[in-house]
């Protein structure tokens, strides 16, 4: 399945390998925590491991691989990284507000009530 097109020196291959496995591992830990944590607001924290550390490490591996392999700086990945790191907080915030809104509508005792308007 994987054909090696680019030839890399050993140090670059090791760096790519480390960052690749590290990023995938962080993403996996995030999803495992996401499955195990008991309440919604705790679960909200788990996927951010994948979207910050996981995305960062894997894109760094990709930058090293293509930059060293082709001999010129390849920084497409920064676009993806920038995009993910700006958009995921937006979705998470909106989801958290939606969840708060729904829990308050059902008068869930674990959720802090809205502060009375002054």
């Amino acid at each position: 399945m994987t054909e090696q097109v680019l030839d890399l020196p050993l140090w670059a291959a090791i760096a790519v390998a480390i960052f690749l496995v590290l990023g995938a591992l962080l993403t996996l830990i995030g999803t495992i925590g996401f499955l195990r944590l008991p309440t919604f607001y705790e679960r909200l924290h788990a996927p951010t491991l994948g979207t910050s550390g996981g995305v960062g490490a894997i894109l760094l591996a990709s930058i090293i691989y293509f930059s060293v392999g082709t001999g010129r700086l390849v920084v497409h990945e920064i676009l993806i990284g920038l995009f993910v790191s700006i958009t995921t907080p937006v979705t998470f915030m909106l989801l958290a507000r939606a969840a708060l809104h729904r829990d308050r509508a059902e008068k869930d005792p674990d959720v802090p009530a809205k502060a009375p308007a002054k």
Binding site: L20, A24, L25, R43, V55, E77, F92, A98, R102
Partner: protein, 93 residues
């Protein structure tokens, strides 16, 4: 030597990401509430995007980046729309 290292690392990373996607889709079934399912959808597409990037490292081709970017864009819009629907569509009637 470096080819073997890269091949192993790419295979391991793909396996880990595939397991991550599997776990995220388990949460879609388990729920328990709509917001959990939407967050697991978010996690699922992020993992899929990362899987595409590892594919591009495995094959040495940059065409997968555009695909990853498109997944990111569409996933963002989709989860945003779903979250907005939760705020306005279901609770207040």
């Amino acid at each position: 030597m470096s080819a073997i290292i890269l091949f192993t690392a790419v295979s391991i990373a793909q396996l880990l990401l595939a397991v991550a996607m599997l776990i995220a889709s388990m949460r879609i079934f388990v729920g328990p509430r709509a917001q959990d399912r939407i967050i697991s959808l978010d996690t699922l597409y992020i993992s899929a995007m990362l899987l595409l990037v590892t594919f591009s490292i495995g094959t040495g081709r940059t065409v997968y980046f555009e695909a990853a970017l498109v997944i990111g864009l569409l996933g963002f819009v989709a989860t945003l729309a779903l979250a907005k629907f939760l705020m306005r569509g279901e609770v207040i009637e």
